[in-house]
Symmetry: C2
Subunit: 154 residues, 2 copies
DNA sequence: TCTGAAACTGAAAACCGTTTTCAGTTTCGC
DNA sequence: GCGAAACTGAAAACGGTTTTCAGTTTCAGA
């Protein structure tokens, strides 16, 4: 689900929830962010539109929004708890380790990997969490590195 | 790198570090764990062999061990900061969402997925973090579910 | 052996992000 | 209007992690 306020209003209403001014401010703050944002960053950004907003409300709203699938939590090997808008399609995030810029990519075929894991471990696998990190094109160029499209997994 | 004390002693020595009794206790505690363990769980377990061990030392040691690659941090969409021994080979972890049991699987071909991401996003991808979760065979049976080897990605 | 330097330690305090509590406010259906 | 329920922010509580600090252990070299 994307961050479409109307759509979210409807989803909220179906649960007896309301899209208040404060929640709207939180939503906008995440939507406008070009990179993943932490609760405190959301708080700061949202307060520009809604100065009386409290941090408590930010936490509660982020929780709600990720519950209904409007936001996605992103984690890295070292840091936790940042949020990005979730696109409509199922996707995974790629985070730039220099500038924090996040993009999603959807053209992924994890099924083969998941199947291999099932075969090898006997687990019934219900979820996968994949996050890629590296360097975005802009940072790559800034660092004077010619774009070379090769990746190595860790 | 596996949790081979001799190997770790050598790696430590190369950095001017020592594998003390306390560090050894931490190492053993993680090695013996059949599931991922949090710092506090390590603390509790390690104290059985080394009662005067402090939590500070546990944190410092876990940090050190994961720095040299002897441990792997595992994260899930909701929780953070647990550790498992890293196997010698490059592998990913599969965590049972019922009992916390962790296994690694190594027969993974993430390259195709990474390549697709590179093509689609233009990022130079240097790391990937993949974690699968689901139900281990034991929990599946305990829940009266016949083992069916199919997975669905999230 | 001593000796000095550096690594290492645990307890306590500090820190910091998150959650809970609580009393008050807003919204909505009637 | 009115009452119920959703919602709010401030402050307190909470819990995990990191820092500080003074003391201990280890090790290389004299």
């Amino acid at each position: 689900m994307a961050l479409d306020a109307d759509q979210i209003t409807v989803t909220f209403a179906a649960r007896g929830l309301r899209l208040t001014r404060q929640r709207r401010a939180v939503l906008d703050a995440v939507a406008e962010a070009s990179a993943s944002v932490s609760p405190v960053q959301v708080f700061d950004a949202a307060r520009e539109h809604c100065p009386e907003l409290g941090l408590t409300t930010v936490y509660r709203t982020l929780e709600l929004l990720s519950e209904i699938g409007a936001l996605r939590r992103v984690h890295g090997p070292d840091h936790c708890e940042a949020f990005v808008p979730a696109s409509a399609a199922h996707g995974h995030t790629v985070v730039c380790s220099r500038c924090g810029q996040v993009v999603e990519f959807t053209d992924c075929d994890m099924q083969a990997v998941v199947d291999a894991a099932v075969r090898q471990t006997g687990y019934r696998i219900t979820e996968h969490f994949l996050q890629l990190s590296g360097e975005c094109p802009a940072c790559g160029e800034r660092a004077g590195r010619p774009q070379r499209p090769a990746g190595d997994g860790a």
